[in-house]
Amino acid sequence: MVELLIYLAAALAGAAVLFALARFIKGPVAADRVVAFDVITIASITGIVLAALAEQREIYLDVALVYALLSFLGVIVIARYLERGL
């Protein structure tokens, strides 16, 4: 029962990643691609949590924490570059 719900959740998150990838490929301006990058990062945080639930290993959550930090830093660096060049 719970395994089925985890599978369904992983399928939905994968569909979200595919939509964001389509926007990353198409996106007319650079900021579109940065938003798609952010969405893919957040969806992969969800994927890491789902993998930790599936494998029953708590150590995977540390990687999710590093991911949350890194998406923030990456988006800030790119936004400051687009604004006036770091």
């Binding site: 595919l18 957040i42 959550l61 924490l65």
Partner: protein, 119 residues
Amino acid sequence: MIVFDLLGGLLLVAGTSFLLLGGLGLWRMPDIYNRIQAGTKATTLGTLLTLAGAAFLQPTWALKLLLIGVFLIFTNPLSSHLLARAAHRSGAHKTATTVVDHLAEDRTARNTNDQGERG
């Protein structure tokens, strides 16, 4: 504990549904500002619901999941705000139905004030 398992699984599916809606909005919205709104608000809520569902499924992980959630709450709106500001300053294309642009109005008002003081 079957209640906790069921509730956790349903929260996982609800959270990833919000992620899917965010991705769909990212693909369907007409310009960059709408895409930022769809792509960050919906995914923030979706990730928080997913973390809550994981905390229901594995109650001993709750502290670490809470840490990730607090971090997301603090950082995600900040990054989307910075991104929207950068897009506005780099002159991104607005859709035709945009009628209000307060940031540009404020900026032109500040520029005319500066010129008035200088002159």
